[in-house]
C-alpha cells in the first residue's frame, strides 16, 4: 500500500499544475473579456469581393 504515497503525490502535483495553468491564464487576461472572443471566432477570414443583397 506504500504506493499510495506516490500516487497521492502525483495527484497533488497534477492538481497544482492545473492551478498554475489557471493563474497563468488569469495573468494573461484570458478571463478579462469572456464575451468578445466568442463573437470573433464566427467571422470569416477571407472577404468576398463584394457583398450583394
Amino acid at each position: 500500500m506504500n504506493i499510495l504515497y506516490f500516487l497521492i503525490g502525483c495527484s497533488v502535483l497534477l492538481a497544482l499544475i492545473f492551478l498554475m495553468a489557471f493563474f497563468w491564464a488569469m495573468k494573461n487576461g484570458q478571463n478579462d473579456d469572456t464575451y468578445t472572443p466568442g463573437v470573433r471566432i464566427l467571422f470569416d477570414d477571407d472577404l468576398p469581393e463584394k457583398h450583394e443583397k
Binding site: M1, D33, T36, R40, F43, K50
Partner: protein, 800 residues
C-alpha cells in the same frame, strides 16, 4: 422609386441601408442602396472602397445615424494632451484605448478589428465588446492620434474623449485578486475532501499508518486557505473591531481561526481528524458569495460627474492665433473660441459672435437661450450656432455648474454607506454567539476541562454564519439580474435593500417623465388647406428637428416648389412658395410680439400676414398617468423642474399633488429640497436625467438616472433606468420589498440550522463528519431557496 407610388402610399417605409432609419423623400442613392442622410452614405462609400462590406453581411443595418456634427480634434495634436491619453508610445508605435459608445453589434466588432484595411498604419485593433472599448496600435510616424480619431469618426465610430477618463477609471476596477483566492480555496477544498473521505468511511487497521499522513497533508492545504484566501475576513473583522462595530466578518473569522487551531491541535496530537474540510469548504463558499455580490456592469459608469461631459481641451485665442490647451490650464481672463456643438467649460462673458446656447444639461430647460454681447454665459451650455469668442471670468472648478460638486453632498459621498439588514442582525448575532460559547465552556469547566474546550470550539465552529453570510448576496444578485433583464441597472446589491425602504419619490420633469421623441403639437389660429401646403413645403427643406416633426404631423402629400429658401439658425426659416413669402420661426424672426414666453412655440407668417402659432410640447412617457396613480397610492410624490411652469396645467390631471410640484428649480434648489425632505425623516428616491439633477441624485437616499440610451452620459447615481423600463417602476419597488422578505426567511432557515448544530455543540458532541455535512447542506439550502424564491416573486411581479 417613382413619384406615383410615393403619393399613393406616403407611409411606405424605405429604410436606410446603413442605419435602418426611415428615409425621407429625398433619398440618397448609391449603388442601388438607399440612405437616409449623406452621413450614412459616406460611411458606406468608405467601407465599400475598402472592401469592408461584410460589415453589412453580419447584421442588417448595423450603423448609427450620422446626424451629429463631429467636433474638432485639433487638440489631439498637442503633445501634452496626446501623451495623457496614450497607453504606450515609443519611437515607432503608439497604443491607445478608446471608449466608443456606438459599439453595439457583431458588425461593429468585425469592422473595428479590420481597421488595418482602411489605413495600413494601423497595426492592430482589439475590441472589448462589453466595455465598448477598442485598443488600437498604430504607427505614430505615419498617422497621428488626431488622424486616427478622425478616421474612426468618419466611419461612424466617434470615440468619447472627455475630461473624466472613463477608460482609465474603469480599468482600475479588477476582481482578479478575488478570483485567485477562490481558485486557491477551491483547489485546497477539492484535495482536502479527497483526503478526508477515508477517515469518514473508516480505515482498516493496516491502513492506520495513512491517518496521520492524510491529516498532515490536510493541514498543509489548510494553510493557504486561512492565510491567503481567508485573509480579508480577518482584516475586515479587525478593522471593524477597532471601530467598535461588530459585523458578520467577526464570527466568520472567529470560526475560521478556531477551526484551524482545533484541527492543528487534533492532528498534531493525533487525537482526531480535525475540521479542515469544513474549513476549506466554508472559505470557498464565502468567497463565491462575495464574488456574486461584487458583480458590476462594465459598460455602465455610476460615478460620472461634470468632467465626463466636458472636453479635454479648449481652443485658446491669443496674439499668435488659435491654440488648443488642456482644460486645467485655462485661466481667468483667457479668451476662448467655442465652435458649433462645443461645450462651454467655464463661466464666461460673450465677446464676439451670435450665442445660441442649449442649457438643457444644466437647467433642464429644453429650449436654447440667446445671449447678447457682454452677457455672462455659464458653464455647461452647448453652443448651437456659429463659433463664438468668450472671456473666462471664473476657473473651471469654481463655475456656477461645477460649484455644485463642492457641496457637502459630494464631500461625504464615500461615507454614504447603506445600512443593510445583515449588518443589523450580525451585531446581535455575534453577541449571542459569544454568550453561548462562553456559557457552555463555563458549564463544563467545573466537571470536565477537556469538554469545556471542546464545546467552546464546537459552538464557534458550528455557529459560523456561512449560510447567513450567503443569504443576502445570493438573493440580491438574483434581483439584480432580474432588474437587469428589465433594463434597470443597479450600482450594487445594497441598493436593492435601499429601494425597499423608499417612502418618497421625487421626479424631475424634462427627460425623466417626458418621452425622448415626439411632440404634442397643437395650432392656435386659422389655416386653410393651401396655407398648410405652403408651410409643409417650406418646412420640409429644413433639417431642424421641429421642422421635421411639423412635416410629419401635418401629413400633407402635396408640395410646391420653394425658391429663395433661407434658414437662419436659432431663429427660423423662410421661402417663396406660389409667390408668397412664408416665414416660420420665433417671434423676433417675424418681428411680432410673442404671445407666449415659453420657447416651444413656432410662429407662422404667410405673405406678411400673421397666421398663428404651433406649440410643441414634449410627450409624456407611456402610461405616466397610471404610473403616478399606482405609485401615489403608497408613496409621497414630488415633482421638481428647471423649466417654466407653462406645463403645469397639463400635468395636474395626472399629477394631482399640486403643492408638491415646483418649477424653475436650480440644481442647488433641487438638492436643498431633497435635504429638507430627508430632515423630515423621509427616505427619498430621486429620478433625474441631467447634470442639473446631479446634486439631488447624490443627496437623495437613492438616486436613479433615467436615460433613453444607457451609453449616453448619465450623472453620478445609484442606479440607471432605461426609459423603456420606466413604466415598471412600481414592480421594481415591489420586487425589492419581496427580496427583503426572502432575505428574512433565509435568515430564519440558516438560524434554524445553527440552532440544531448548537444543540450538539454545547454538549461537546460535535464530530468532524457532522460538521462536514451540516455546513455544505445549509449552504446549498440557502442558495437554492433564495434563487427559487426570488424568481417566484419576480414572476408574481411580472418581471420575468
Amino acid at each position: 422609386m417613382n413619384n406615383l407610388s410615393t403619393q399613393a402610399e406616403p407611409d411606405a417605409l424605405t429604410l436606410c441601408y446603413h442605419c435602418g432609419n426611415e428615409c425621407d423623400e429625398e433619398q440618397y442613392h448609391f449603388e442601388d442602396k438607399n440612405f437616409c442622410c449623406i452621413g450614412c452614405q459616406s460611411v458606406y462609400k468608405i467601407l465599400s472602397e475598402n472592401q469592408l462590406c461584410n460589415y453589412y453581411a453580419y447584421n442588417n443595418t448595423p450603423g448609427k445615424t450620422q446626424d451629429e456634427a463631429s467636433s474638432h480634434y485639433d487638440y489631439l495634436d498637442e503633445p501634452k494632451i496626446a501623451a495623457s491619453l496614450l497607453d504606450y508610445a515609443d519611437d515607432s508605435i503608439s497604443i491607445i484605448t478608446l471608449y466608443i459608445p456606438a459599439i453595439h453589434c457583431s458588425s461593429c466588432l468585425w469592422l473595428l478589428e479590420h481597421l488595418y484595411k482602411i489605413n495600413a498604419s494601423i497595426v492592430n485593433s482589439r475590441i472589448d465588446f462589453l466595455k465598448k472599448q477598442v485598443v488600437i496600435t498604430f504607427k505614430n510616424k505615419e498617422m497621428s492620434l488626431r488622424e486616427l480619431v478622425i478616421m474612426l469618426s468618419s466611419i461612424g465610430y466617434e470615440p468619447l474623449i472627455s475630461l473624466q477618463d472613463v477608460v482609465k477609471e474603469q480599468n482600475k476596477v479588477s476582481d482578479r485578486d478575488l478570483i485567485k483566492k477562490i481558485a486557491v480555496a477551491g483547489f485546497c477544498f477539492g484535495n482536502v475532501m479527497l483526503l478526508s473521505f477515508p477517515e469518514y468511511f473508516g480505515l482498516a487497521t493496516f491502513e492506520q499508518q495513512f491517518k496521520s499522513f492524510f491529516g498532515w497533508l490536510n493541514l498543509v492545504f489548510a494553510l493557504p486557505v486561512v492565510i491567503y484566501s481567508g485573509r480579508d475576513y480577518f482584516i475586515s473583522a479587525w478593522k471593524n473591531l477597532r471601530n467598535k462595530v461588530l459585523n458578520l466578518d467577526f464570527p466568520l473569522s472567529l470560526g475560521i481561526a478556531i477551526m484551524f487551531i482545533r484541527s492543528l491541535y487534533e492532528i498534531v496530537s493525533g487525537t482526531g481528524a480535525g475540521f479542515v474540510d469544513t474549513l476549506c469548504g466554508l472559505v470557498f463558499f464565502l468567497l463565491i458569495g462575495k464574488w456574486v455580490q461584487q458583480r458590476t456592469y462594465h459598460h455602465l459608469s455610476f460615478e460620472r460627474d461634470y468632467r465626463s461631459y466636458f472636453p479635454v481641451a479648449v481652443t485658446l485665442i491669443n496674439e499668435e492665433g488659435e491654440k488648443p490647451i488642456p482644460m486645467d490650464e485655462l485661466k481667468v481672463g483667457d479668451r476662448i473660441l467655442i465652435r458649433n456643438n462645443e461645450v462651454i467649460p467655464a463661466d464666461t462673458i460673450l465677446m464676439k459672435g451670435d450665442a445660441v446656447i442649449d442649457f438643457s444639461f444644466v437647467t433642464g430647460e429644453s429650449a436654447p437661450v440667446q445671449k447678447v454681447l457682454g452677457e455672462v454665459v455659464y458653464a455647461g451650455g452647448r453652443q448651437i450656432n456659429q463659433a463664438i469668442e468668450l472671456e473666462v471670468i471664473k476657473p473651471v472648478s469654481q463655475s456656477y455648474l461645477t460649484s455644485l460638486w463642492n457641496n457637502e453632498a459630494f464631500e461625504k459621498k464615500k461615507k454614504k454607506k447603506i445600512d443593510t439588514f445583515s449588518d443589523t442582525v450580525s451585531r446581535y448575532f455575534s453577541i449571542v454567539l459569544l454568550i453561548v460559547a462562553f456559557g457552555s465552556a463555563g458549564y463544563w469547566m467545573f466537571s470536565d476541562t477537556a469538554k469545556a474546550w471542546q464545546s467552546f470550539t464546537a459552538v464557534l465552529i458550528i455557529a459560523c454564519p456561512c449560510a447567513l453570510a450567503l443569504s443576502s448576496p445570493f438573493t440580491l444578485s438574483a434581483v439584480l439580474s432580474i432588474f437587469d433583464k428589465n433594463k434597470f441597472y443597479l450600482k450594487n446589491t445594497a441598493v436593492v435593500e435601499q429601494l425597499a425602504r423608499i417612502n418618497t419619490l421625487v421626479f424631475d420633469k424634462t427627460g425623466t417623465i417626458t418621452a425622448p421623441e415626439g411632440f404634442r403639437i397643437s395650432f392656435e389660429g386659422d389655416l386653410s388647406y393651401e396655407d398648410q401646403c405652403l408651410i409643409s413645403s417650406v418646412a420640409r427643406n429644413s433639417g431642424h428637428p421641429l421642422s421635421r416633426e411639423l412635416v410629419k404631423w401635418m401629413k400633407i402629400s402635396e408640395y410646391f416648389p420653394v425658391s429663395e429658401y433661407q434658414e437662419i439658425p436659432g431663429k427660423g426659416i423662410q421661402g417663396m412658395v406660389n409667390n408668397k413669402l412664408v416665414k416660420i420661426g420665433s417671434a423676433s424672426f417675424l418681428n411680432i410680439k410673442s404671445e407666449k414666453k415659453d420657447t416651444g412655440t413656432v410662429y407662422i407668417q404667410i405673405a406678411d400676414h400673421y397666421a398663428g402659432y404651433f406649440s410643441f410640447r414634449q410627450k409624456w412617457r407611456n402610461g405616466l398617468k397610471e404610473l403616478f396613480a399606482t405609485l401615489g397610492a403608497k408613496l409621497n410624490m414630488h415633482l421638481l423642474s428647471g423649466d417654466q411652469d407653462s406645463e403645469k396645467e397639463f400635468l395636474i390631471p395626472s399629477f394631482p399633488w399640486e403643492e408638491n410640484m415646483h418649477f424653475k428649480q436650480s440644481p442647488q434648489n433641487k438638492l436643498d429640497y431633497i435635504q429638507k425632505l430627508q430632515q423630515d425623516k423621509n427616505k427619498v428616491m430621486m429620478l433625474g436625467d441631467g447634470l442639473n439633477d446631479a446634486g439631488a441624485l447624490k443627496q437623495s437616499d437613492l438616486g436613479i438616472a433615467v436615460t433613453d440610451n444607457i451609453n449616453n452620459f448619465s450623472p453620478g447615481c445609484d442606479a440607471i433606468l432605461d426609459g423603456a423600463g420606466f413604466e415598471k417602476l412600481p414592480q421594481f419597488i415591489h420586487q425589492a420589498k419581496d427580496a427583503v422578505k426572502v432575505i428574512h426567511m433565509s435568515f430564519g432557515i440558516s438560524l434554524t440550522y445553527n440552532v440544531v448544530g448548537l444543540y450538539f455543540a454545547v454538549q461537546g458532541l460535535l464530530s468532524p463528519l457532522f460538521a462536514a455535512i451540516l455546513m455544505p447542506l445549509s449552504t446549498v439550502t440557502i442558495i437554492s431557496f433564495t434563487s427559487i424564491a426570488t424568481h417566484l416573486f419576480a414572476r408574481k411581479n411580472k418581471l420575468i
